[in-house]
Amino acid sequence: MRKSKASIIISKISVIVLFLGLLGCVVFARQLSGLYLDIVGRQGEELTTALRILIYVAGVIGTILLALMYKLLDNVHRDIIFEDRNVKLLKAIQYICYCSAAVIAVFTPYFIFAAAVALAAAFVGLLIRVITNVFQSAVQIKQENDFTI
C-alpha cells in the first residue's frame, strides 16, 4: 500500500513535470517552430504559422488531458478508486484523445508527422476506451460487493 502511494506521488510529479514541459513548448513556440523548420530544411511563413498553431493546440489539449489525469490520480490517492466519477474522467480523457487525433490530422498536409501523432492519439483513445470498459465492470462488481450484507 505504501509503495502504491509512492508510485501515485511519482505519477503526480510526472504529470506536473510534463505540464511544465508543455508550458515551455507553448512559451517558446516561435523559437521551436523556427528551429524545427531549420533542421528539416523547410521555410515559409505559412509553415511557421501552421507549426505554431499546432503547438498551441497541442498545448491546450495537453493541459486539459494532464488536468484530468491529475484529478484521476488525486482520486486514487484519496482511495476513491472504483467510482463512477473516475469512469467519467476516463471517458473524458478518451473523447479528448479522439478529438485531438482529429484536430492534429488536419495539419497532415503541412507536416507528415502530424498523421503519425494523430494515429498515436487515436490509439491512446482506444486504449483508454478499453480501460474504461474494464473500469466500468469493476465499478459494478464493487457496488454489488458493497451492497452484499
Binding site: Q143, E144, F147, T148, I149
Partner: protein, 70 residues
C-alpha cells in the same frame, strides 16, 4: 425490486432496535440499515442465519417476493 426485506417488520414484532440486533449479529448498523431500507443487492447465508437466530424467525419472515408490477 422484486425481493423485499421485511427486517423492520420483524424488528417491530420482536420489539428489538436495529442497534441491538446489530451488536448481536456482529453487523454494523450502517449495513443493517442498507438491508432494512431495501438497498442491498445480496445477502449472505451467514448474515441471514444470524438474523434468523436472533429474531427467532424463518428466512421467509424476512424476505418476501413481490412482482415488480405490483
Amino acid at each position: 425490486m422484486a425481493i423485499i426485506v421485511n427486517l423492520d417488520v420483524m424488528l417491530a414484532k420482536r420489539k428489538m432496535q436495529l442497534g441491538v440486533l446489530s451488536s448481536r449479529v456482529g453487523i454494523t448498523p450502517a449495513n443493517l440499515s442498507i438491508l432494512k431500507t431495501n438497498k442491498a443487492k445480496a445477502i449472505r447465508f451467514s448474515t441471514l442465519e444470524a438474523i434468523c437466530r436472533e429474531l427467532d424467525c424463518q428466512p421467509g419472515d424476512i424476505l418476501e417476493y413481490r412482482a415488480d408490477d405490483e
